[in-house]
């Protein structure tokens, strides 16, 4: 009998194992949930990918403050590595098991995120119009939320809604090993002008030390400086007079002969790269971020460009070994013979608005999730949160740690007017040639000859692809419009009017005409409009008439 039992048990062994595992998993989940969520407790989960030093601790600290005010609420973090965050959040949202609060952007392409926002996030527009209750007792008391944030408060144009609240800002700077700098050059602080900086790099190199760490990751940050000298190109390529030169305008300007690779400001950008790149370690373009950081940590290099998000980690790395200094990228002075005329002003530094969060529609307690988000965005808590992380607060009046003063971005200045990303292949070709030039394998003339011809040849295809992508966007917008119209027709009173007006305001008009204009212009079917900053004789006549007594 016993044998029969054992034989039968063997037959059903897999089923027994599966059943036991299932039972064990169910009990564990149940126990975990009871522990996490005692009866009457509201659990708010916050999902993000910021594994940098300080972030989890900062959320933890702010969460504990919030829990003191709301003893029935528990905040739980889901900190997911950035390599897998996009897949993770996608499946969580689709499966209906996403955290209550999710970090904005999802580390995915904007159209994908837009789609997820539309389906799975709660619009926050209403909260933007109301004061943040947690600003009571501060100078922001009674001020609508939108006016209490420094950035990231624009509505998503395609949805006509505010979908997220951003908590921080970061910027890019040059970090340096102060001890090594002193030892090699005798300087306490590096020169802020380009000429002086290059001269100093020469001395460092002569002493057998790498002046600047480069890698595929770090070198790109220098574009903030390199690209700024292309600003004068707006006078050749801003066909729609919006102050920018887009990739379609750059292509049209090439086709019409307004711009080419020999445009002095474009050439100046490469002269500038050529001036600095000899001071990066050989073969830097092929190195990874980690390899670059290692050189800096081993004190083999003096300077390294990186973002505020790495500041705390670097400080930790240098602790007890060397002192770290921070500076802006060196800029050519106005009287710099080679570059001064192209850098028309200070460099505008894009304030990178980060650490934004949206509230998921599957949240069981969306009001509590939003309340916690408002708590983190309040002046007092936003300051506390960012001081612990080491980032710049995004709330007005929330002061950053005094040591971060050097990271405040400059919001008045020149910006790039060169964009070769009209298609995937022009982008790739540009990057390949740019890297070869940066490491000294080709000259600018070679780059200009190769890329100029390629851009003009492939740009037309790129313009068509860009147009197709825009068409897809129009269909997506039409989907949204149709939904607004349907909801408007099903509603009545003020709600119906509001929905109808949002439907009307999303009617594409200018972009349809502007797209057709750029395509016809690039194809030579339209006369080329002036893009110059010189006032034409007709304009001067009009001004003269206005000034005559």
């Amino acid at each position: 009998m016993m044998r029969r039992v054992l034989e039968s048990a063997r037959d059903f062994f897999p089923l027994i194992v599966v059943g036991a595992a299932l039972a064990w998993a169910s009990v564990s989940i149940w126990q975990h949930r009871v522990h996490e969520n005692p009866p009457g407790t509201i659990v708010i989960r916050i999902g993000h990918w910021q594994l940098e030093a300080g972030v989890r601790e900062a959320i933890e600290a702010v969460a504990r403050d919030y829990e003191k005010l709301h003893p029935n609420v528990r905040i739980v973090q889901d900190a997911i590595p950035d390599q897998v965050f996009a897949q993770w959040i996608n499946t969580q949202l689709v499966g209906g098991t996403a955290p209550d609060l999710v970090e904005a952007g999802g580390l995915m392409a904007p159209p994908l995120w837009l789609n997820l926002q539309r389906r799975y996030l709660v619009p926050l527009t209403r909260y933007y119009a109301r004061p943040n209750p947690y600003n009571a007792g501060t100078d922001l008391e009674g001020v609508p939320l939108t006016q209490t944030l420094k950035g990231g408060n624009a509505v998503v144009p395609e949805l006509q809604e505010n979908m997220e609240i951003s908590l921080s800002r970061v910027s890019v700077r040059l970090f340096y090993n102060r001890d090594l700098l002193r030892r090699v050059t005798g300087l306490e602080t590096p020169p802020s002008d380009l000429g002086g900086f290059v001269e100093m790099c020469r001395k460092i190199q002569a002493a057998g030390v790498i002046p600047v760490v480069g890698s595929s990751y770090h070198f790109g940050m220098w574009n903030q400086l390199f690209d700024a000298v292309t600003y004068p190109a707006w006078r050749r390529g801003d066909f729609n007079r919006d102050g920018y030169v887009g990739s379609d305008e750059t292509f049209a300007a090439f086709q019409l002969g307004h711009l080419d690779m020999n445009f002095p400001a474009y050439r100046a950008k490469f002269d500038l790269i050529g001036e600095l790149s000899p001071y990066f370690q050989p073969g830097f373009a092929g190195l990874t971020r980690e390899e670059g950081v290692l050189l800096f940590a081993q004190q083999r290099a003096v300077f390294m460009s990186t973002g505020l998000w790495e500041a705390l980690g670097l400080m930790e790395l240098a602790k007890g070994k060397f002192e770290i200094g921070v500076m802006k990228f060196p800029e050519p002075t106005a009287n710099d013979e080679r570059f001064g005329r192209y850098l028309e002003g200070p460099i505008y530094e894009d304030p990178r608005i980060v650490f934004g969060f949206g509230v998921t529609k599957t949240s069981r307690h969306p009001e509590v999730a939003i309340d916690f988000l408002l708590f983190m965005a309040s002046q007092r808590e936003n300051e506390r949160l960012n001081r612990i992380i080491g980032w710049i607060p995004n709330t007005v009046g929330a002061d950053p740690d005094p040591t971060l003063a050097a990271f405040e971005p400059n919001l008045r200045g020149v910006y790039p007017a060169q964009d070769f990303t009209i298609s995937g292949d022009t982008t790739i070709r540009w990057k390949q040639l740019f890297d070869l030039f940066s490491v000294g394998q080709i000259s600018y003339d070679d780059l200009a000859k190769d890329f100029g011809a390629f851009f003009r040849e492939r740009g037309a295809v790129g313009l068509r692809l860009q147009h197709e992508s825009w068409q897809r966007g129009l269909v997506q917008r039409e989907q949204l419009r149709a939904g607004l119209l349907g909801r408007s027709l099903a509603a009545d009173g003020a709600t119906a009017t509001l929905l109808r007006d949002r439907f009307v305001s999303l009617l594409p008009v200018h972009e349809v005409i502007d797209h057709a204009f750029l395509i016809d212009l690039a194809a030579g079917r339209l006369p080329s409009p002036s893009t110059s900053d010189k006032h034409s004789p007709a304009v001067r006549d009009a001004v003269r008439r206005a000034l005559q007594p």
């Binding site: 009998m1 039968s8 059903f12 299932l22 989940i29 499966g95 209906g96 098991t97 789609n115 539309r118 389906r119 799975y120 527009t125 209403r126 119009a129 109301r130 006509q160 809604e161 007079r241 919006d242 102050g243 920018y244 002003g345 505008y348 919001l411 008045r412 200045g413 020149v414 197709e468 068409q471 039409e478 989907q479 149709a482 939904g483 349907g486 909801r487 027709l489 099903a490 509603a491 003020a494 509001l498 109808r500 007006d501 305001s505 009617l507 008009v509 200018h510 349809v512 005409i513 057709a516 079917r525 339209l526 006032h535 007709a538 304009v539 001067r540 009009a542 001004v543 003269r544 000034l547």
Partner: protein, 320 residues
């Protein structure tokens, strides 16, 4: 009791087919319990819920709800027409799975059941927009699109769908960048503006008129229409704001302020207007990327004015 006395019946149970079904169901229930709870709206068949599903991109759920509502309501009932409209909208705009032929049949059915109604107008317009916004890789049949738009604009003149049809037709025509077309567009839209003082499409119409003025090389008109478009947009935004103080705050659009300033400066030579709009741009958007650009523009205009003033008092010969 012998141990086999317990195990043998237990193993028989484990071997039974019904037990496997029970285990399967338990696993499925466990999976479902870990997943999302259905919301109340998912079982409701009202229009709002169906549109909500459509908004989430849950097209099958939306379709099922629209169909259920259509089946529950008599053909003469406006809710029946709205349900058909919802179903047609799903077939028109879902991607993938679009079925334009089916959408068109439903839109035409609405026009039969409720001729002359707003919903019939929206249906006529939707057919035109569907013909215009074709999938990537296909070219719209321009003649058919214009015909559908004209038909909708004429049949539903004085109604909102007619307004949108008219404006969209002019958008397509002005994009030809042909003088004769631009003149016709101007005439059509000026008539529209005089006939429809309260239409929410006035801002869009002014924008198209600005584009037509550009084709006709009439910079003053272009400036006038851009300013009118902005004024209409702000009027609408204010009306929305009055209705809903918690809606999006959309005044002082930096793009519109900047564009008007640039047209006034470079195309018209009306530096007073240019200065006013650059200043408004700077005041409303102090951290905008184009701040330095706008400051440069103010300096550039001052420099030109100073130069012309010197010419006017005879200190400098003109043009030097």
């Amino acid at each position: 009791m012998k141990i086999s006395g317990v195990f043998v019946p237990l193993l028989q149970v484990l071997r039974a087919r019904w037990f496997h079904v029970v285990i399967g169901a338990a696993i499925a229930l466990h999976g479902a319990a870990c997943g999302r709870k259905p919301t109340a709206g998912e079982t409701s068949h009202d229009l709002n819920s169906a549109w909500e599903q459509y908004g989430y991109g849950a097209y099958d759920a939306a379709l099922a709800q629209f169909r259920a509502l259509a089946a529950q309501t008599p053909e003469a009932d406006s809710r029946h027409h709205q349900a058909l409209f919802g179903e047609a909208t799903v077939w028109a705009w879902r991607r993938p799975g679009q079925d334009p032929a089916r959408a068109e049949r439903l839109y035409r059915r609405i026009m039969e059941l409720a001729p002359g109604s707003d919903l019939a107008g929206w249906s006529a317009l939707a057919m035109a927009r569907m013909a215009w916004l074709v999938p990537v890789g296909q070219t719209p049949d321009q003649a058919r699109v214009l015909e559908l738009l004209r038909s909708a604009a004429t049949t539903f003149r004085g109604q909102l769908p007619g307004d949108e049809a008219l404006v969209t037709e002019q958008v397509i025509r002005v994009s030809e960048f042909d003088s004769a077309e631009a003149r016709a567009v101007t005439a059509a839209l000026e008539t529209f503006l005089s006939e429809r003082p309260g239409s929410p499409y006035r801002a869009a119409a002014c924008g198209v008129l600005s584009a037509a003025a550009r084709v006709l090389d009439r910079p003053r008109d272009r400036l006038r229409w851009e300013m009118a478009a902005m004024a209409e947009r702000e009027k609408m935004a204010r009306a929305i704001w009055e209705l809903d103080r918690q809606g999006p705050f959309v005044f002082n659009d930096p793009g519109a302020l900047f564009k008007i300033a640039m047209i006034a400066e470079f195309e018209v030579g009306d530096f007073a207007v240019a200065r006013d709009f650059y200043t408004r741009f700077l005041e409303a958007n102090p951290t905008e990327k184009r701040r330095f650009f706008a400051e440069q523009a103010l300096e550039r205009m001052k420099s030109t004015e100073d130069e012309i003033r010197r010419e006017l008092v005879g200190l400098v010969p003109p043009g030097q």
